[in-house]
Structure formats: structure tokens, C-alpha cells
């Protein structure tokens, strides 16, 4: 019965892919597994890990591209960067873009451990940076556009779905300590 219930919940979450459903059913999973392990199949986790591993050598370029796209489409996001030079090709932009992509790639190495991997960044964002978490969605979308541009045909609907879910999970974990 317990096994069936767990399976049913997994199916429900797979169908809805909705993080609100996850919070409702969270008592059935450990704290560690809550946000990400249940949203993604093993195939999806492997795909995500493989893609980010491949992009690690161009982390600065991809990260800077995503940031530039975000700043262009959502100018409000620039308010968090008044202390940096965020013009195209600036060293600040490249190094900050690199930091972000490397953190995303690191998380992708073992998605079931996301809460552990991101613990220091959780603290940083919650108590120091205090970026409104609504902005995480804007960066996620911009990151998906960068990925689509660079991966082209390889950015299949399956890869798109997996990446969207992973970035949502990443953002949700990042915001966990805010309140």
C-alpha cells in the first residue's frame, strides 16, 4: 500500500511537474529529496548533467550571454549590479556569468544533493544579496534562451523540459532560507 501510494504520488508529480504539488506531498519524501529528486527522472538527470559538463569550458561565455539577455529584456534586474560593469564583454560580466554557470553545473553533478550543494549560496542570497526570488525566473528564462541559441537542434523538447524543471528546482532551493 505504501509502495503504491509513493508510486501514485510520483506519477502525479511527473504529470503536473508543479512545485506547489511537491510542497503538498513533501511529507512523503525526505527533506533532501523534496524539491528535485522527484521532479526529474534518472534519464533527465543524466541529460542535464551531461549538458552542463559539456558547457563548463564555455561557462563565462554562456553565463555572460544569459546575463546580458536578462538585463536587456528585464531592465529591473540591473538594479542588483550597480556595483559592477555589466557592459558587453566586460571582465565583471564574464567572471560573474562564469560563477553562475559553474554553480549550476556543480548542482547538476548530483541533483539529489542540491540542498547540500547550495547551502552556502542559500545563505549568501538570503542574508546578504537579498535578490528578490522572482528574478530567478527571469534569469532561468534567459539561461534557457542562451542554451537554445548555442545548442540549436540539440535543445529538443525533452532537453527543454528537463532543463526548465532543473532550473526551477535550483531557484526554489536557492530561495529556501529567505523566510
Amino acid at each position: 500500500m505504501q509502495h503504491f501510494k509513493g508510486h501514485f504520488l510520483l506519477l502525479l508529480e511527473a504529470r503536473t511537474g508543479n512545485s506547489i504539488c511537491q510542497v503538498l506531498f513533501s511529507q512523503h519524501y525526505t527533506e533532501r529529496d523534496r524539491t528535485s529528486a522527484t521532479m526529474l527522472s534518472n534519464k533527465e538527470k543524466d541529460l542535464i548533467k551531461e549538458i552542463w559538463e559539456r558547457l563548463t569550458p564555455v561557462a563565462a561565455e554562456i553565463g555572460a550571454d544569459a546575463l546580458l539577455r536578462m538585463f536587456a529584456s528585464y531592465p529591473g534586474t540591473k538594479t542588483y549590479f550597480s556595483h559592477l560593469d555589466i557592459s558587453p564583454n566586460s571582465s565583471h560580466l564574464l567572471s560573474h556569468g562564469k560563477k553562475i554557470v559553474l554553480a549550476i553545473a556543480e548542482g547538476a553533478q548530483d541533483i539529489s544533493q542540491l540542498t547540500v550543494t547550495l547551502a552556502p549560496l542559500q545563505t549568501l542570497h538570503a542574508y546578504q544579496l537579498r535578490v528578490d526570488p522572482r528574478n530567478f525566473k527571469l534569469l532561468s528564462h534567459s539561461m534557457l534562451v542562451s542554451l537554445a541559441c548555442y545548442l540549436g537542434d540539440e535543445f529538443t523538447p525533452v532537453a527543454h523540459a528537463a532543463m526548465d524543471k532543473y532550473l526551477s528546482a535550483f531557484a526554489a532551493v536557492l530561495a529556501e532560507k529567505y523566510r
Binding site: 529584456s73 534557457l144 534562451v145 540549436g152 523538447p157 527543454h160 526548465d164
Partner: protein, 148 residues
């Protein structure tokens, strides 16, 4: 009224000129149904949507994708009057189809991603993306305008 810079106008019209409605439309709608499966609630009459392959091969999905994408033509031709241009469609989506207007934003994102994957970073630059997304945002807003 929406204000477009000259750069934005030419970016939107330029990008539209490159887009194959018959290709991008079906791709974008398929992606919406695959990445956000709860969107399938509006397409119960479309037949088999049970797998990704079924969705991508479904002729009704493809046709509807073409219809939606083709509808953008009117918006491109009426950049200064999108709200009025879409008024009747807005009433239809609200009163007859009962579509949650958040889906317009989601489909817009899927369209942008298909366009990005098709044309790559040298065509779909940050500036072109800004203009294109602003355009789709205005269309989505016009589609939601008549809801009450």
C-alpha cells in the same frame, strides 16, 4: 499606447520576415504541451497527446500551431494598434475557450525558445530578443485584455 523605438520595430519586422510560420508554430505549441503538460487540458478534442512523439506527430497540434503563429501576422502589421486588433480574439479566448491567460505568456516563452534554437545567437541577439519578447508580451496582454 505602446511605444516602439525604431530599432525595436525593425527587429520585430526583420525577425518576423525570417520566421516560417509552418515550422515554428507547430514546434512552439508542441513544446508547450510537452514542457507544461497541464496545458493539454484545452486540447482534449485533439486526439492522442499521451507521449512526446504523439504530440509532435499530431496533425491537429501542428495545424493549431500554424493558426496561432499566423495570427501574429496581424500584430506585426498593426504594431501601433495591437490591443484593438486582438479584441475579438480576446473575447473568444475568455468567453468561449476559457483559456487561463497565463498560458499566453507561457506560449510566448516557447515561441522565443524555438526562434532562438532555429536562428542562433547571431540573429537572436539580446537586443532582438528584447524587442521580440516585448512584442509577444503586448500580444499576450491584448489577448487577456477582454477577460472579466
Amino acid at each position: 499606447m505602446v511605444e516602439w523605438t525604431d530599432a525595436e520595430r525593425s527587429a520585430i519586422i526583420g525577425l518576423w520576415g525570417k520566421i516560417d510560420v509552418g515550422e515554428i508554430g507547430p514546434q512552439a505549441l508542441s513544446r508547450l504541451l510537452i514542457v507544461y503538460p497541464w496545458g493539454q487540458r484545452y486540447f482534449k478534442a485533439f486526439g492522442d497527446l499521451s507521449t512526446n512523439a504523439a504530440i509532435m506527430g499530431n496533425p491537429k497540434v501542428a495545424q493549431h500551431g500554424r493558426t496561432v503563429m499566423g495570427g501574429l501576422e496581424n500584430a506585426v502589421k498593426n504594431l501601433d494598434n495591437i490591443k484593438q486588433t486582438y479584441a475579438n480574439l480576446s473575447v473568444m479566448h475568455s468567453e468561449k475557450l476559457h483559456v487561463d491567460p497565463d498560458n499566453f505568456r507561457v506560449l510566448a516563452e516557447c515561441i522565443s525558445l524555438c526562434v532562438a534554437a532555429k536562428f542562433g545567437p547571431s540573429v537572436f541577439t539580446a537586443e532582438v530578443q528584447e524587442a521580440w519578447q516585448k512584442f509577444l508580451c503586448v500580444v499576450a496582454s491584448a489577448l487577456g485584455r477582454q477577460y472579466h
